[in-house]
Symmetry: C2
Subunit: 366 residues, 2 copies
């Protein structure tokens, strides 16, 4: 079970400083993974993404299987080559997007049949096919195929969904082809029910994975519940394997989850916000559409090293937003991903120094 190397280098409370070793190089953890849905982190070149400090991206199986197609990407040399990204890639299983984007979904023990939201074409996604697609894409980290449990839902429905996901996790594990530097992660489910979370975690560990994700959260349950579910799951997961909290989150969510022992995150928030004029700064979030920025010569974030902050004023960024210019999305995305990367670097430094308890970022608690 050493397809993906992982070493814990330091601890501070439940938090860990670590290093993930993938077929495409090392990743310092805790790490935030920018989302590159359609084989691109929106509004960024791969060179731009690497310059933020990111060393692993998330790719979306659902989108890529439909467009341009997993076999096509494989024929073109795999996702890394296709999108010209030389560092790590984690692909999700497609389970979440099938439930949130596709139509006419039908779930059976076998898998999920659905229609593409692009062109209405029919598809079947099973644990075996999901893992195969992720292999065709060339993912360094493959995610087990799971059912996205609706929220809120009755306990019985959550339990049945979790049990189905555990059977699918076992099938995903069996379908995964071991290769050095490549691994597969299982996903803890169980909604907001501690005992279901624990049962799910224990079952995954029994199957045995390279890493463990905590899924089905950050979908409306609130930060306190998210943290509570992390707290009930983490003790059941192996100390020597990475932990990944899926779809999280805001800066304060990341800090809280790191303190509770999470090593990896992904979220569309920094990239999507960058395309809607929202910037994360050490002074808190800013909406660049606001007229109060129109004459402001100050940079977005005076402590930030990114080109948006070193080269331009808030007044200019406001102007770009008001003018609907593509450069607004480019610069704000670059800034937000830099902010997230630097926040993670600061968290790693704090863990290394044993000072996570009084962590701050730019003088403020994120």
């Amino acid at each position: 079970m050493t397809g993906i190397g992982f070493e814990v280098l330091a601890r501070d409370g439940a938090a860990r400083l670590g290093r993930l070793d993938t077929a495409h190089g090392p990743v310092q953890t805790p790490a935030f993974m920018p989302v590159g849905t359609a084989a691109t982190v929106k509004a960024m070149t791969p060179e731009n993404v690497a310059a933020t400090g990111a060393r692993i991206l998330l790719g979306n199986t659902y989108h890529l299987m439909l467009r341009p197609g997993a076999e096509r990407i494989a024929a073109l040399g795999g996702l890394h080559r296709f999108m010209n990204w030389s560092h790590g890639i984690l692909t999700d299983s497609g389970g979440f997007q099938v439930m949130s984007l596709a139509s006419l979904r039908k779930i059976t023990e076998e898998g999920v049949t659905f229609r593409s939201h692009f062109d209405g074409s029919r598809h079947l996604l099973t644990p075996e096919r999901s893992v195969e697609i992720q292999r065709l894409l060339g993912a360094d980290i493959t995610m087990a195929f799971d059912e996205c449990t609706p929220f809120p839902a009755e306990r019985e429905a959550v339990e049945a969904s979790m049990e189905l996901s555990m059977r699918w996790a076992e099938r995903s594990r069996s379908a995964f082809v071991e290769r050095p530097g490549h691994g597969i992660f299982g996903i803890v489910q169980g909604g907001v029910h501690p005992d279901l979370r624990q049962r799910s975690a224990a079952r995954l560990v029994e199957i045995g994975f390279d890493g463990y994700a905590i899924g089905g959260l950050a979908i409306g349950e609130g930060q306190a519940t998210t943290f509570a579910m992390v707290e009930v799951s983490v003790p059941w997961l192996p100390e020597d394997r990475p932990r990944y909290l899926m779809g999280v989150g805001k800066p304060a969510d990341l800090v809280g989850a790191v303190k509770r022992g999470v090593d990896m995150f992904d979220c569309v928030l920094p990239t999507r916000s960058g395309r809607t004029a929202q910037a994360f700064t050490r002074e808190g979030p800013l909406n660049l559409r606001n007229a109060r920025h129109a004459d402001d010569p100050a940079p977005l974030d005076g402590e930030c090293r990114c080109p948006a902050c070193t080269g331009f004023s808030r007044a200019y960024l406001h102007h770009l937003v008001k003018s609907g210019e593509i450069l607004a999305s480019m610069l704000l995305t670059r800034h937000n991903l830099t902010y997230y990367a630097d926040l993670m670097a600061a968290l790693r430094a704090a863990i290394g120094a044993g000072r996570l308890a009084d962590f701050s970022f730019g003088g403020a608690a994120p």
Copy 2:
């Protein structure tokens, strides 16, 4: 009249190899100026633009006076600082955009009153105000305010319009404040009438400008007529001053105009095309939306040095276009501007070597 330095370094027939010296550095000519309408070359960072080789941009007075406003840009340190561009900037006078974009235009001897196409607000643009705005923006090269003559039009209308533009040119010249490294260009008008073109050119030379533009072309009259109007205008213009053909054009238009003695160009074609999936290549233009590119591992242009060509396949670019990804606009704009910059560099090399007669670019006549 040496606000803007210009030196002719070599000649080949009517073509000239030269160097323009602006307050923001030298520009090798013949030069193509990317268009940065709203204080940004769309889908490009200034760093990206400079990497293509461009050393002078065009900014649009009409857009910038309305949004964010010339006085605002001046208060923020000028257009160079506002948009973080350290090389040359030429601003147009606003005359062309007022006629093509604004509503409720009323032209008098004084100037043009109009309503903004952004918010309907009323404005007056005169030669004096246009020159003042361009000074507020900090343009290295200011363009005289002229009337955009409609095409096609009766000869009498064209003549009256040209005469008005010449009176405005004189007022523009008078309003211009001399500063080292800054200059003002007059604009030859006269539609498709050789005698009007000659009268206009002679009048401008009488007034005396730092450079001379040929305007009112590339608006539907056809390449042969464009070239003919260049040919009748150029002999009337001083040998020691730069010549600028406004709004031109396709690669073959640039080559033909350079052979006829033009030194500077601007056009939205490479940037706009980049946002609509059109690429200029040494094999001719390509439409990346076309399905025949879906599986093509070849680069856009095998001889091109730009990141779109060195990092990605036609298949990937096709995928980005089909997916509506911002990165498609970023990469194709970067490529097209690199193509234009390299075409101009090849033209300069050919003039320097005295081999313009059998000019080719990548084995093909553009």
